[in-house]
């Protein structure tokens, strides 16, 4: 059984070599060939518009999560709809009805979140 895993072991070594090789090479090349003219703006870290140096446990508006989760829900719906639409001719009435039921359940969820005010930012 172990023989079957040998390719995976080999793959791990190769991928380590491929992964680490260029980064070490790049570091060596850039320190040999590149200019090094730092200034305060270049050295300060950038973090998506947040202050980089403060307590990491700051309060984060929960609405970001809400929007993100709702987005994933409806994004997945579309991910299901595309392949369904492509093969609609072949899967017949049963396939059509299954997707309609799925959409109906999502619509119930949509009504729920709308009425609960999850879509209002303020």
């Amino acid at each position: 059984m172990l023989d079957n895993y040998f390719p995976i072991l080999a793959f791990i070594f190769v991928s380590i070599a491929v992964g680490i090789g260029p980064s070490i090479g790049g570091w060596v090349c850039s320190s040999l060939l590149g200019w090094n003219r730092p200034d305060s703006q270049k050295l300060s870290p950038y973090e998506c518009g947040f202050e980089a140096f403060e307590d990491a446990r700051m309060k984060f508006d929960v609405r970001y999560y809400l929007v993100a989760i709702l987005f994933i829900l409806f994004d997945l719906e579309i991910a299901f709809l595309f392949p369904w639409a492509v093969v609609l001719n072949e899967i017949g009435f049963f396939g059509f009805v299954s997707m309609m039921i799925f959409l109906l359940i999502l619509v119930v969820g949509f009504i729920y979140e709308w009425m609960k005010g999850a879509l209002e930012w303020e």
Partner: protein
């Protein structure tokens, strides 16, 4: 490619429940707090409708398979579903005033309960690893949210977080085991797996590894040692009404899950999993009963009592197949099923009494709150007495017959030492149940406020207590029903 329309008849109850839950969810949006009773009544009617469908489907003889053999409707499924409807409905009635007093009687409580119920039904009726897993996740996700329903309470959110993290871990273990069994047998359908295993010629190492992970997943959902760590914290941290929910119907579903996975799917490996279950059972009975003695919080005490009861439940499952033949297996498994149903019935009354003692602004959490209950209300003290006797396994309550039947199955399987250990630990366990009785009857009340009980709850709690007593006097019908149900598997 054309898909034929599947036979929807065996799943009518599930389809009805899903439709009604969506309706409950939407209807509740248009109600204010004064008219919340509409949601409540609608939810109870939904469960009644499900019971109607399940009884109708139950009249069809023999197991019916549908959705490409992913879903099965047999007598065991229907009996367990009916018991779960009753448990969830009773839970709704008990918890109504408790939740209302704490501002948690929102529509979400009902819709989450109903969705959890749907998950349990799918679990109970599954004949395929994927349907089983889907039902399990639907149930678990609803339960996590219900534990955290009291958002402002730090203990509730902590309990929900623990439950979620450990639950996700257990689901992962279960899936890993399933994938290994799939690797060894090439099938996800339980009955098919059993057939392939009987023929033999599967990779035994992979199979046993898979089995270990599956048993670990089942053990977590049942809450037996050493997979019990979440139970005391979750039971204590959750609002009492939600604790009642978690302690009742999901145990039936977990039992069904164990039956479907181990008995329907992996019965040719019974020699292997019976040893594991025996170990789990002995550890649970020992730790559950010993740790419960040290508790001063009633919910924590009942949590440890749950652990020991689940150990007893496993006793029946661990002694079904003797020396490779399963002649007496149906008796042992039906003893376990009887135990699961009886445990659910009794635990409803036990946590019902916790809700009974709580009121607006007062949380009955400590064992001391039971002091002198006899003087405050002799009738409810009697109901609690019956419940505690049943949990301890003292005749003439039904808990006695439940314990007796699993012990019988252990003895008839030749595992006398197991029965002796079980009796020993249930004797130790009797101490902390009888302590409650002593507090109620021989101590002075600390809390002298009169019990304010809604009529529906007091009627139902009385009926619950009387049912424990009546079933203890004539347990024959229910036992036979369980036997026929297991026989039909």
């Amino acid at each position: 490619m054309n898909f034929p329309m599947p036979n929807l008849l065996p799943a009518y109850a599930e389809i009805f429940l899903l439709t009604m839950t969506c309706i409950v969810l939407v209807v509740d949006l248009f109600l204010d707090d004064q008219r919340r009773y509409v949601t409540y009544v609608l939810s109870l009617l939904t469960l009644a409708g499900c019971a109607f469908f399940t009884i109708g489907i139950g009249s069809i003889p023999g197991p019916t398979y549908t959705f490409n053999n992913m879903f099965v409707s047999d007598l065991m499924a229907n009996v367990l579903k009916l018991a779960s409807y009753i448990a969830v409905a009773v839970n709704m009635v008990y918890s109504r005033s408790y939740m209302a007093d704490r501002g948690m009687l929102r529509g979400e409580y009902f819709s989450l309960s109903l969705f959890a119920m749907l998950g349990m039904m799918v679990m109970i009726s599954s004949n395929h690893f994927l349907t089983l897993y889907m039902g399990l996740e639907l149930m678990s996700l609803c339960l996590y949210a219900m534990v955290a329903l009291n958002r402002d309470s730090a203990t509730s959110t902590e309990a929900a977080m623990k439950y979620f993290v450990l639950g996700a871990l257990a689901s992962g273990l279960l899936l890993y085991g399933m994938s290994m069994i799939y690797g060894a047998t090439g099938s996800l359908e339980m009955r098919n797996i059993a057939k392939i295993l009987e023929v033999g010629s599967t990779n035994r190492v992979v199979l046993v590894f898979g089995l270990v992970f599956v048993v670990a997943g089942v053990a977590f959902k049942l809450g037996v040692v050493p997979f019990h760590m979440w139970i005391p914290d979750v039971y204590q941290g959750a609002p009492s009404a939600v604790t009642l929910f978690i302690a009742s119907a999901p145990k039936l579903a977990a039992f069904a899950m164990a039956m479907r996975l181990l008995v329907n799917g992996l019965i040719p490996l019974a020699i292997d999993w019976q040893q594991m279950l025996t170990l789990l059972a002995v550890l649970s009975m020992a730790l559950g009963n010993l740790a419960a003695i040290a508790q001063s919080n009633i919910k924590r005490m009942l949590a440890y009592s749950t652990i020991s009861h689940m150990g007893f439940l496993l006793l029946g499952m661990a002694t079904g197949v003797v020396d490779g033949n399963w002649l007496s297996a149906a008796e042992a498994y039906s003893a376990s099923m009887f135990y699961a149903i009886v445990y659910t019935l009794t635990t409803l009354a036990a946590f019902g009494s916790v809700l009974l003692l709580s009121r607006a602004g007062f949380e009955a959490e400590n064992i001391e709150d039971y002091k002198g209950l006899n003087r405050r209300s002799p009738w409810f003290a009697f109901i609690v007495l019956v419940t505690m006797f049943s949990l301890a396994g003292i005749p003439p309550t039904v808990g006695f017959y439940a314990k007796l039947s699993v012990l019988q199955s252990a003895v008839s399987a030749g595992q006398v030492w197991l029965a002796v250990v079980a009796v020993l630990f249930s004797l130790i366990g009797a101490f902390y149940y009888l302590r409650i009785v002593k507090l109620m009857y021989f101590d002075d009340p600390v809390d002298t406020a009169p019990l304010a009980v809604r009529l529906d709850m007091s009627v139902l709690l009385s009926a619950n207590g009387v049912a424990i007593l009546l079933l203890g006097i004539m347990p024959q019908q229910l036992m036979e029903l369980c036997f026929v149900a297991i026989k039909s598997l």
